[in-house]
Amino acid sequence: MSEDKIQIFIDGVVRYFNHTPDKSVQVGTPYLAEKGKPMALDMTGLIGVSGPDKGCVYFSAPRVLLKHLLLSIGEPDTSEANLVDLVGEVANTIAGNARASLGKEFMISVPVVIEGTPSTLHLPKNSRAYVIPINWKSYTAAVAICLEEN
């Protein structure tokens, strides 16, 4: 998993936040998750990846961040359904960015939104996932990249 590829996913999230009125998004120091133990916050938008790299990439965020984000983009309805949509949308942006940068070879599935911890089924067992904290306002979300090492 090259640094460039990881950067593309980080850029996808940053790009999403940069389209919101409050652009004060900061990337935290990336770290490694324990093998087979996914890091997850309240809600997770997950995209499956196949092709030369296999595994998944997900965006995970606490509810409070998502609610605040909805309000900041002018959506007063912070119902669960809207939160789900929002997480899905962020995941979609990441996927779109990756597809644009990595081309057709990088096959990405439709985002799935999960509450809580994603099933370990989606995670490659023999490699550590990269977790990149995304700081927005006083909250912290994260992008996790779990791709099998070739």
């Binding site: 990336p30 904290p133 912290t140």
Partner: protein
């Protein structure tokens, strides 16, 4: 027959033709016979008329006789006699010899001579009676109608007399003729009925033959067709390849194997184009190459074997969404072969096999080969290193790197926080590097050095952000993976040598790697060093303590060679022995505390140099430094940003060695004491608390 494709229908065609021929024959016979019967009917009628005429002649004669006084009636009777006689005579002759007579309507009728036998006999007998009668009547008629003519009356009387005598015989004979003719007609009619019955029976038999024999045949061939259809279906259901036919326009045929639907996760394949089947699954370039390739196959002049190599789809990777919307990667192999029917290429048969398993297997094999190559490299590294200390190294290193990961994991937003992380990580990676170097694990040492370089770059970055740490995290992952591999390899080695691993108590570990490390470093720096150890093997040490002692010694040796010990030349100039000595002494105090003393006979700590360096690196101001005691200045060597070496190299120079020692001792709750004299050397005394002394309890 074959040419028109009616071979298998020949029998049925012959049968139908026979049926028609039979019908036609019956019809013709019927036609002929009915014509004859109609002739016979005329003859019967005429024969009947002869009976009537014989009586009418007699009647006319008698009428003439009774009309002696009525000339008109007499004349009428004579006229009628004349007509009747002529008609009778003509008809009799026609019956006898064949000839023309007139029918009831006055039309001429051709009669055939009556058949010999009854009819002819009757005719001959009648003729014999008739001849004299006719002559008599003719003589009468020649006399005119005058009754006064005596000849007339005489002739009349003759004729009446003859007629009266013979008229009943004549009637009987004519009746006989009629009956004979009727019999003949009846016989013909019954023959006709028989022919018709036979013909129709044959026709019906023929029909039944067609019905049963050929229907049976048809049913049999239908059953064969059904069976082969079913077999084809079974083959298409079961075959492990996707099979389908392509026509010249690259349209897929109506039949294809079930596997095809499974490979492409779609059902609507029949009649679609080949292009639409692979649309968005393969690149446009591959698609157009494949199209040209298949079109070439339809050209009879092109040799199929020769162009086989050009098939662009013999191992193609596709990514296809399955029923759950998840993408699957598949490797497919397409084979195309011509289908030749009666000398022309009618279709191209495409065979698609899912070769994902084979491809993955060969990739796995490749990976395994590569992995084993890198494992061999790693193995040779491990073999060259001090084997006993490897497990400890791996354990310590994983611990250090996990600590680094935990530091990275801590939330940080500001520049100061980021910088703090850089410094903390520095100390840990430097410790790792030292250990790797001491064990001669050059690949690990190099990775650590690369890591330090990247940290260096981060340390000088004024706009440091979290994102800048990404390369560090990637490298961290790389080192961890190498360590994982080394760990697995060591486990396997341990199993191989069947030596029970003793991770808790490492009895009398081998400390010769200190000398190796020293020799290695000293040689690079033009120095000579002798390591003298004592007490290290006097106690059974718990693994953790042994590891701490080992790491401390390594850092002290590195530090002493890099900073304290002079080159051989310098030592000789100073009247010192060219070979310097580092004394390592380990003992347990009465209090149960552990004491490690590392003493070198080098240049000692140059406090003035420390002072200058500290000012240079902004650690203290000049004024502050002037107020500092010797002890305080010496304490600065444990600060992470101070190094008295001017350039960093593989051995030292980033000023982290003493920081590593400080952190290690701090972690164990120990104390450090430093004593130094210029040109005489330095002595570091470490006291570690008894709490770590598990060995005493174990012993």
């Amino acid at each position: 027959m074959q040419k028109f494709g009616i071979g298998k229908y020949r029998n049925i065609i012959v049968s139908v033709a026979l049926f028609l021929l039979l019908d036609a024959s019956v019809l013709l016979t019927n036609f002929y016979m009915s014509f004859q019967i109609s002739e016979d009917a005329t003859a019967v009628n005429l024969a009947g008329r002869q009976r009537m005429l014989s009586q009418r002649i007699m009647k006319s004669l008698l009428e003439t006789d009774v009309s002696l006084f009525n000339s008109d009636a007499r004349q009428n009777a004579l006229d009628e006699l004349q007509r009747s006689v002529n008609l009778f005579d003509n008809t009799l002759k026609a019956f006898k010899n064949g000839g023309v007579t007139t029918d009831a309507n006055g039309f001429p009728v051709q009669l055939n001579p009556a058949d010999p036998g009854k009819a002819q006999n009757a005719l001959n007998a009648a003729d014999e009676i008739w001849r004299p009668f006719l002559a008599g009547i003719k003589l009468l008629l020649l006399q005119g109608s005058n009754i006064d003519n005596p000849n007339f009356t005489a002739r009349l009387q003759d004729a009446v007399q003859y007629g009266t005598a013979n008229n009943l015989e004549l009637l009987r004979l004519m009746n006989e003729l009629t009956v004979a003719l009727e019999d003949k007609a009846t016989a013909k009619a019954s023959r006709l009925r028989m022919i018709q019955t036979v013909g129709m029976s044959l026709a019906i038999l023929n029909f039944l033959l067609i019905l049963f024999h050929f229907l049976k045949q048809l049913k049999q061939s239908d059953a064969i067709i059904e069976q082969s259809r079913q077999e084809t279906e079974e083959i298409l259901e079961t075959v492990n390849e996707g099979l389908f036919l392509l026509d010249e326009h690259l349209t897929i045929g109506q039949q294809y194997s079930k596997k095809l639907t499974q490979i492409f996760h779609r059902e609507d394949i029949a009649g679609t184009s080949f292009q639409s089947l692979l649309k968005s699954l393969i690149s446009e370039k591959d698609m157009s190459t494949a199209e040209s390739f298949i079109k070439l196959l339809f050209k009879p002049t092109v040799n199929q074997k020769l162009i086989g190599e050009l098939n662009p789809l013999n191992e193609i990777e596709i990514h296809i969404a399955d029923d759950n919307g998840q993408y699957q990667s598949k490797f497919l192999n397409f084979q195309f072969s011509r289908v030749v029917v009666t000398g022309t290429i009618s279709h191209v048969l495409a065979t698609v096999s899912d070769i994902t398993r084979q491809v993955m297997l060969s990739r796995d094999l490749d990976n395994a080969r590569r992995q084993s190559e890198s494992q061999m490299e790693l193995l040779s590294t491990i073999m060259h290193a001090n084997g006993d200390l490897m497990p400890m190294f791996v354990r310590n290193s994983v611990g250090s790197l996990e600590k680094i990961n935990n530091i990275l994991k801590l939330p940080s937003r500001s520049h100061v926080q980021h910088m703090g992380k850089v410094h903390q990580i520095y100390a840990l990676i430097h410790g790792f590097k030292g250990e790797a170097t001491s064990l001669g694990l050059t690949p690990f040492a190099e990775l650590a050095h690369k890591f330090e370089d990247q940290l260096e770059a981060l340390a000088t970055n004024e706009n440091l952000t979290g994102n800048d740490f990404l390369s560090l995290t990637v490298l961290l992952n790389q080192i961890l993976r190498q360590l994982d591999a080394a760990e697995k390899l060591l486990e396997r080695l341990a199993k191989l040598s069947q030596v029970a691993a003793q991770p808790e108590i490492a009895e009398k570990p081998d400390w010769t790697h200190f000398q190796n490390l020293a020799d290695d470093m000293a040689q690079r720096q033009g120095k000579e060093v002798e390591i003298v150890c004592s007490g290290l093997n006097d106690y059974p040490l718990p693994a953790e303590l042994a590891s701490t002692v080992n790491r401390l010694c390594i850092q002290f040796i590195r530090n002493a060679i890099s900073h304290g010990i002079e080159t051989v030349q310098d030592r000789m100039d100073l009247q010192k022995t060219p070979r310097s000595e580092i004394n390592i002494h380990f003992c347990r105090l009465r209090s149960g505390h552990w004491r490690l003393t590392v003493q070198d006979d080098g240049a000692g700590i140059n406090t003035e140099q420390i002072r200058l360096k500290a000012i240079q690196s902004g650690l203290v101001t000049e004024q502050q430094s002037e107020l500092m005691s010797q002890k305080q200045l010496i304490a600065l060597i444990f600060s992470p940003t101070l190094s008295t070496q001017s350039a960093a190299d593989m051995d030292a120079g980033r000023g982290m060695g003493m920081t590593v020692i400080r952190d290690l001792v701090k972690d164990q709750g120990g104390k450090i004491n430093v004593a130094t004299r210029a040109h005489m050397g330095s002595t570091f005394t470490i006291t570690l608390p008894a709490a770590t002394n598990l060995a005493t309890q174990a012993a």
